[in-house]
Amino acid sequence: MANDKKRIYAWEFPVRFTHWINVACILALSFTGFYIGNPFIYAVSAKEYIMGWIRFIHFVAAYAFLLSMIIRIYWAFVGNKYACYRELLPFSSQKLAELVNALKFYAFISKKPPYKIGHHALAAFTYLIVYLLIIFEIVSGFAMYSVNHSGAIWVILGGWLTGAMSMPMIRLYHHLVMYVILAFALMHVYLAWYSDSREKNGLLMSIFSGYKFSTGNEPDI
């Protein structure tokens, strides 16, 4: 049975690399960001530098996240067809049908898994939204960073947002979107495992190796 399946190189190195950088960044940024918003560790002596280090880690991870996003967006234009930005847009009748089918499959209405080597339309559209949320986090983060850093670069990266939103509102949405991204991450891992168990196409391991296995049903080999 396993021999019937064709091995396909779906996720190129930059895709996998940025994926894992993003995982590390989301974990680090969420933890440190949560501490910055609500400092739950208390220093016992004035010689400690807890908030200092936490903020340092937050800012370094923020730069890593920004660069990872830049690499991924670049790769969406030069990478293979599974990494292409066109994958993310569900605006065709075929993709909309695929999206509806995927919803039905996850809701146990349909038994037909959304077979795809790349992302199926629902997953791809979700990633588009997540990318937009991440871009909001980056912009709002740099908006807060820009208030005490002078220079045009900070205005370009996020300072412009302070003209449209008040600082406490930027803080609030930066904080709320963190929860949305964490909820996505939880769902993402669960559904990846679920799809893998149904489609038996090596989906879960593909983000390590880059290879997926065709079952012969995929339209996008």
Partner: protein, 364 residues
């Protein structure tokens, strides 16, 4: 070089003999000039220039009070370094100030109009309080004229308008939601006037003096940020100059009013201090002759010098604002926890659904 500037300094001081007769010693005057140079972040070599500028012709000044609590007048009259108050009163010809002027009624209004007519384009206006625009501005009238009409006439013909306090600068508390009187700032009411904003609740009188001194010395108003505030006073973030900053970086926070940390003077960040998003020189200039300022007194900053602070900075004792569209008790973290629980529940339900459906399949 140093010599010549010192000479100029003494010369200027000499020319202040007249002032000296009014109860201001030369020493006090030079101290004041040095303090102003320091506040404007100028090198010591500018002290003689300031002294010279202040010895010149007396500029006229009128002080208008609209929708406010007269807190800026209070700050101006008593909080400041007494020398500065003397200087302002001696160096400037204050022609109109409702609270402190001897004249009353028509007589008082006449002196205001005299300045506007006889010194068009060469007098300063200080405005405190917001200007109501709703229903033709009837919510604030003085001598039968609405404040918007007065502001248009007086500020429109002035050399420069200094909007003191947050109400005059941005509408302040009268403009807070739901803004029943349609209160606006001076710049919004008189868009063609030259306005410099000195927000704060109240304004720091040292900053008013410094603005005028800057104008007299350089013939121009100081550079301003995007909110119309001079950089010398509003260029630095409170959080970055705060005396409690070290406690922030260390991770030492006040968790409750009156707890051990509060008594030790730790950081008020968790008590909702808005220092990280507010720009003002409170930590360095302080209030009441440099005696204290809110954070030193143990209360967090409420961001009173930021536009719309009453709406955007509240709740003052919480880190994050309330989430719009939810009950006022909902905080972001509660929503986040709810979202996490909903996600976990969704996964659980989905897992059960999956187990059930696969069992059915097996049965088939």
């Amino acid at each position: 070089m140093k010599f010549s500037s010192d000479d100029a300094l003494y010369e200027a001081a000499e020319s202040m003999e007249a002032l000296g007769n009014n109860g201001l010693s030369r020493r006090d005057f030079m101290k004041f000039c040095s303090a102003m140079a320091a506040l404007l972040a100028l090198p010591a070599s500018f002290v003689p220039k300031i002294a010279e500028a202040l010895s010149g012709k007396k500029p006229y000044l009128v002080w208008l009070a609209f929708q406010d609590c007269a807190g800026d007048t209070e700050a101006f009259l008593r909080a400041t370094n007494p020398t500065a108050a003397n200087i302002v009163l001696d160096v400037l010809a204050v022609e109109y100030h409702e609270t402190i002027m001897a004249a009353a009624g028509k007589q008082a209004e006449k002196s205001l109009m005299d300045v506007v007519k006889n010194h068009k384009g060469e007098y300063f206006v200080v405005v405190e309080g917001s200007i109501p625009m709703k229903d033709d501005g009837i919510y604030c009238c003085i001598g039968g004229k609405s404040s918007v009409d007065i502001a248009r006439e007086v500020c429109g013909n002035a050399l420069a308008t200094i909007a003191v306090g947050t109400c005059a600068a941005y509408g302040g508390i009268p403009a807070a939601l739901p803004n029943p009187t349609g209160a606006v700032s001076v710049k919004e009411a008189v868009p063609n006037a030259t306005v410099i904003n000195l927000p704060g609740c109240p304004v720091n009188a040292e900053n008013i003096t410094a603005c005028i001194v800057h104008y007299l010395t350089f013939g121009a108003l100081p550079n301003v940020d995007k909110f119309g505030r001079p950089y010398f006073a509003y260029g630095k973030r409170i959080h970055d100059n705060c005396e409690r900053r070290a406690h922030f970086d260390a991770g030492q926070f006040v968790r409750q009013w009156g707890d051990e940390g509060h008594r030790q003077g730790w950081c008020l960040y968790e008590m909702g201090c808005k220092g990280p998003e507010s720009f003002h020189n409170c930590p360095t200039i302080k209030y009441n002759e440099g005696t204290s300022w809110p954070v030193q007194a143990g209360h967090g900053c409420i961001g009173c010098s930021e536009p719309n602070f009453w709406d955007t900075m509240s709740p003052f004792y919480k880190r994050l604002p309330n989430v719009p569209g939810f009950g006022i008790e909902s905080t972001a973290d509660k929503i986040g926890a709810g979202l996490a629980a909903a996600t976990a529940a969704g996964i659980l339900v989905h897992g059960i659904g999956r187990a059930v459906s696969s069992k059915k399949e097996e049965e088939k």
